[in-house]
């Protein structure tokens, strides 16, 4: 059996600066041993440990979709020692990724349902993975209406701008992009916080499941909006973050009660979370 702590060696293929503050970059990795790509078989919602020898590891949600072959993508916010170093690396450099880790969004349960995706800030990464996955011709018929509310502080802080523009043009996905504020007179989308836009744009919870991913304050104010719309806690799906090391439920730090965010999560329904101590 493969050592679960050993990263797969990867090469950085491309680096894209995503946001105007240059603090978020998307890294496209290619496996140095092509057979490792099979070993790294993932489902949208999962994460991996990015590993830089001499710096450490950092758990990051997978931003690419398994329908995109030949590479994996991660969008990384520059925060600490590992991400800080990563932001100074270049295409061609080698490092490691370890995973895939954790569970995923409840794809089987979502089949035949309307899917409401609500994202804020740089937590949009595994939601991008999910959208790409659902829009793939093989998968699109499995889901009914797909509606997306995605907000950032300013237009320049939105991730994946080209893809957002392309999705806006499609008729099989309904986009509601919003920003907290902007001085751009050309801005043609919404202005307002995610919970308020959700309240305005999402009109029904009927046969729908909501995936919510964003900063704690956004989640706190979006949750009552969804509950008012009639989403039961079983159909409000959240993805959590926590400090992690091992990623496989051994090292003991990311527990919420008896659950480990790394192994039993990061995806939990609100119903599950209500049974657990509120310690996250």
């Amino acid at each position: 059996m493969r050592n679960p702590y050993l990263p797969y060696p990867v090469r950085i293929d491309e680096i894209i600066t995503e946001t105007e503050d240059k603090n978020l970059k998307t890294f496209k990795f290619v496996f140095m041993n092509p057979e490792d790509e099979k070993g790294f078989s993932y489902t949208p919602g999962q994460f991996a440990e990015l590993s830089i020898a001499g710096k450490g590891e950092i758990p990051i949600g997978i931003a690419s979709s398994p329908t995109e072959k030949g590479f994996v993508k991660f969008t990384v916010n520059k925060v600490g020692a590992v991400t800080g170093h990563l932001h100074y690396m270049s295409a061609g450099d080698t490092m490691g990724i370890r995973g895939p880790l954790g569970n995923w969004y409840p794809w089987e349960e979502m089949e035949g349902k309307n899917v409401v995706i609500i994202g804020g800030g740089f937590a949009f990464t595994t939601l991008r993975s999910s959208i790409i996955y659902m829009l793939h011709p093989d998968n699109r018929p499995r889901f009914r209406d797909i509606t997306v509310v995605y907000g950032a502080r300013t237009p320049g802080m939105l991730l994946y701008k080209d893809e957002l523009a392309a999705w806006e043009k499609r008729d099989d996905i309904k986009m509601h992009i919003t920003v907290d504020g902007t001085s751009d007179p050309e801005w043609k989308y919404n202005i307002g916080f995610v919970p308020a836009v959700t309240e305005k744009k999402i009109t029904s919870a009927e046969n729908a499941i909501a995936i919510v991913c964003g900063p704690p304050v956004m989640i706190r104010f979006t949750q009552p909006v969804l509950e008012k719309l009639g989403f039961p806690p079983e159909r409000i799906i959240l993805s959590l973050e926590m400090r992690m090391k091992c990623g496989i439920g051994k090292c003991g730090r990311c527990n919420i009660g008896e659950k480990y965010v790394c192994k039993d999560g990061p995806v939990f329904s609100l119903a599950q979370l209500k049974q657990l101590p509120p310690e996250y």
Binding site: M95, K245, C251, G252, P277, E279
Partner: protein, 348 residues
């Protein structure tokens, strides 16, 4: 099974002779305390102890352990690619391990060796370890093994059980590997009926000496959120100084950290024991910390041992009753007392 008697006079030499087949660890007196040390030519084993100050957990699970390494030579095409570090899995024997500490390995095993993920290093080193237990003729007032599924002469998790019969040890093989260990010890005589009777009487008497208990019988039925929100946590944690002595000494605490160390071009990825008593344990890059306050960390330690672990593995509490955390806590926090508070906590 093999059952033999060995005189105490030659015991150290008998153990030294078996080093050809095993790396042997024995209790050694260090100042006022005992600790397990590798048996070398000059080592003086000392079996006159209640229990070692440090548990033997580091013999299976080192406090610091190299996981991977690599070179950061910019010329090398393998630059930055970590490779597993060489490991030593020599067959080892811990002689004189108390039954509580042997049970602790089984408690920890449920974390490191389960169908979801198996920790290759812990599992393999545990498999290369045989446990030569020493029954407790005189348990301490802080011992409560018998209320957490063990006992002063509990055999369940040992390969050999030694009975201290004054001038001699009776060694009873409990597993095939244990029988093999005894057969490799030079000298000794087969145990006769008298010795066996004497040994059983010793065990029965020791059981009676343990009067201290860890109450946990009602914890299973209580809801996790009710215990979590119980009113006593701040008070229970009031005197705690978050020193981490409890988690460091605990034979059933397994949490670890992973750190990269760089020395010149050499990179080592190392795992180190960690402690939930430190606020850094859960501090996130954003500055958010789910267990920022001291009482939250104290609550985590007790909830993990007495509620989360039992709920998860359905095999008792994460405590073997060795009493180290009770004896060495600088502010006298007592797990038996906190367990009592939890056990009697009213559901609202």
């Amino acid at each position: 099974m093999t059952y033999k008697v060995f005189g105490k006079k030659d015991w150290a030499e008998t153990l030294k002779a078996v080093r050809a087949s095993y790396r042997v660890f024995v209790p050694v007196r260090e100042g006022d305390f005992h600790n397990f040390r590798p048996l070398e030519d000059e080592t003086i084993p000392n079996f006159d102890f209640f229990n070692t100050r440090l548990s033997p957990k580091s013999i299976v699970y080192p406090q610091s352990e190299r996981m991977f390494e690599c070179l950061t030579d910019p010329e090398s095409p393998e630059k930055g690619v970590l490779k597993e570090s060489a490991k030593d899995y020599t067959l080892q024997a811990i002689v004189g391990v108390r039954p509580c500490d042997a049970q602790a390995f089984q408690i920890v095993k449920r974390n490191f060796d389960n169908p979801e993920y198996s920790d290759p290093w812990w599992v393999r080193r545990f498999e290369s370890t045989i446990l030569i237990g020493l029954g407790c003729n005189a348990p301490c007032p802080t011992c409560f093994c018998s209320s957490v599924g063990g006992g002063p002469f509990d055999e369940g998790r040992l390969d050999v059980l030694l009975y201290d019969l004054g001038d001699k040890y009776a060694a009873r093989g409990l597993t095939e590997r244990g029988g093999e260990f005894i057969s490799k010890l030079q000298g000794g005589n087969p145990a006769d009926g008298k010795v066996m009777k004497e040994a059983s009487a010793l065990a029965a008497a020791a059981n009676e000496k343990i009067t201290s208990r860890l109450p946990s019988d009602k914890l299973g039925q209580k809801s996790v959120t009710a215990l979590f929100n119980a009113p006593f946590w701040e008070e229970a944690a009031f005197s705690c100084i978050n020193c981490g002595t409890c988690t460091f000494l605990c034979p059933t605490c397994w949490c670890f950290d992973i750190q990269d160390e760089v020395c010149g071009k050499q990179v080592d990825r190392i795992r180190n024991w960690d402690t939930c008593m430190s606020s850094l344990f859960t501090l996130e890059g954003s500055g958010h910390n789910p267990r920022e306050k001291k009482f939250q960390r104290v609550r985590q330690r007790f909830m993990h041992k007495l509620k989360y672990y039992p709920d998860k593995f359905k095999n008792g509490v994460q405590c073997s009753g060795c009493g180290r955390c009770v004896r060495y806590c600088p502010v006298n926090i007592d797990i038996r007392q906190v367990a009592g508070l939890m056990n009697e906590c009213e559901e609202k």
